[in-house]
Amino acid sequence: MTGQSAGPGRGRRARRASFYCALFLVLVVFIFPFFWMAFNSFKTHEKILEYPPAFVFTPTLDNFKNVLVQSHAVQYTWNSVLIAFGSLGVGMVLGLPAAYGIARYGHRTLALGILVCRMIPGISFLVPWFIVFRALGLLDTYTGLVIAHLVITVPLITWIMIGFFEEVPVELEEAARIDGCSRAGVFLRIALPLVRPGLVSAGILALIFTWNSFLFPLILAGVKTKTLPVLVYSFMTFDYLDLGGVYAASTLVTLPVIVMVLLVQRQFIRGLTLGGVKG
């Protein structure tokens, strides 16, 4: 009340300035590790070890060269891409009809079952899978790894897409039915094209989660099918012998994810928050 006599304009400006200061501080805190990751990947191993940390140095691309040439990173990137898109594709084929079935025909117990899938720790599949995969010869194969990651993508895609299918107006589908479209046709020709934004949300999340996955390939992949996160982790075995490699490999594995998020940030955030609000 007393502050108002000093002029509301000045008070508002001060409040706005302090808001932007707070915002800036928050952003710095959350972005700093990413900045530091990229920053250090241009330093030599010796430069990274310097204390106090060096802020001025001659940047070098050697770390990236080493990672790409010496560690077969290209092969592992290809493995990661193949497994991510494989589990995305099969995940869509299984998850989309299921989401539609739940949204339109109300299989609520199934919806609950899918939530329970999220609760089970990945490690609890790993012991039985490891034993069965070994018996079936699925260890260190793309098929085995895609099957494993479907456990992430199918529940994820289904869970996100239920909400999107529920938003499709039933009248449109009924009209198509009257025009002689089968129920399967309604799903394919009416519902699916209408939920395209949802497909982007679910797809991007599925891709990122599979790309980031570490535990499954750590146990189920071998020399042939090792993925990027496992490779990045293997730089740790040399621990402090090649910190440049650690930073460069980390940057390389994170970069595609950041690019994807920046490209479709709206859909990414929509997918993330939808999972939460519906939980």
């Binding site: 915002l23 972005i31 940390p53 490690i123 002689g180 129920r183 990045v232």
Partner: protein, 311 residues
């Protein structure tokens, strides 16, 4: 007109589909065809391991094909609860890590959502930048954090020196390793809680706040008496989601400490991993998994009752 005629012609067909055969039978039971592939797949890939784990938990087995599992009944469970020090340590570490990080993430996330719930320049960019920790590859982030925490040349050690704090050994010391991991977890996951809360805040009706302002409520009162009760279901949903994932945290801890120093940061999840893939105690690991599953279930029941109670 044409479509109207078609509609009329179509109608009498409806009551007589049995004659048409397979395709119409499929059409009538279509809802099952939609969900069945996913159900069968998840059943095979999920239910089987769950049943298998439950069964294996009653045996002692090293995973070797030559020596078949030996039946021990509830012996593994007896071992778990009779005072396996590794298990007791893991329960404590998991509760400490999950409990404290969840508490901080929820309060900080709601606070940040409150801060960002207004119109300002660069809102979209701020939101996108804040979400990056959630999307980043956990293994890579953990490697970076691990080195930032390095006691001899990490940047955090330098920060502590600049701020004139007592020297810290971060992940290398049994007393500070979990707080350090919590800080990492808070950094990574607070944005998720914030975004979900923000989505809930945006949907709140503005007229309540106008009414509260007219009645002389301070912003602080408005937050505690109006905002918080209204977004509570959303916040609790976010907390449940976070709890489920937090208990399962593997990559970050495995990469940055591998449960160390000693077993100071060995969560239940890492303990199971060690028992199974380090020591090949597959039977014992299975019984731990069953316990872990019930821990997660119990936590969710508690959170769900928080959501329903008083809401």
């Amino acid at each position: 007109m044409a479509s109207g005629k078609a509609e009329i012609r179509e109608k009498p067909k409806e009551p007589a589909p049995p004659a048409i055969g397979l395709s119409s039978w499929v059409d009538r039971h279509i809802s099952w065809f939609f969900v069945l592939p996913a159900v069968l797949f998840l059943g095979a890939v999920l239910a089987f391991p769950v049943v298998y784990t439950g069964g294996l938990s009653l045996f002692r087995w090293s995973g070797a094909a030559a020596t078949p599992p030996a039946w021990v009944g509830l012996g593994n469970y007896a071992d778990v609860f009779a005072g396996d020090p590794g298990f007791r340590n893991a329960i404590w570490v998991t509760a400490y890590f999950t409990g404290v990080s969840l508490l901080i993430e929820v309060s900080l996330g709601v606070g940040l959502a409150q801060l960002l719930n207004r119109e300002f320049l660069g809102k979209g960019i701020a939101r996108t930048l804040l979400i990056l920790p959630v999307a980043g590859t956990p293994v890579a982030l953990a490697l970076i954090w691990r080195h930032m925490y390095n006691p001899s040349n990490g940047i955090f050690t330098w920060f502590a020196e600049v701020l004139r704090l007592p020297p810290q050994r971060w992940l290398a010391d049994a007393t500070t390793v979990i707080p350090s991991l919590i800080l990492f977890d808070v950094w990574q996951w607070t944005p998720l809680i914030m975004l979900i809360t923000l989505a809930g805040l945006v949907s709140l009706p503005a007229d309540i706040y106008e009414a509260a302002q007219i009645d002389g409520a301070s912003p602080w009162q408005a937050f505690w008496r109006i905002t918080l009760p209204l977004v509570r279901p959303t916040v609790v949903a976010a907390a449940m989601l976070r709890f489920m994932d937090s208990v399962k945290t593997f990559d970050q801890i495995y990469v940055s400490t591998q449960g160390g120093p000693g077993i100071a940061s060995q969560t239940l999840n890492l303990y199971v991993f060690d028992q199974a893939f380090q020591y090949l105690h597959f039977g014992y690991a299975s019984s731990l998994l069953v316990v872990l599953f019930f821990v997660i279930l119990a936590g969710n029941v508690v959170l769900a009752s928080v959501r329903r109670g008083r809401a």
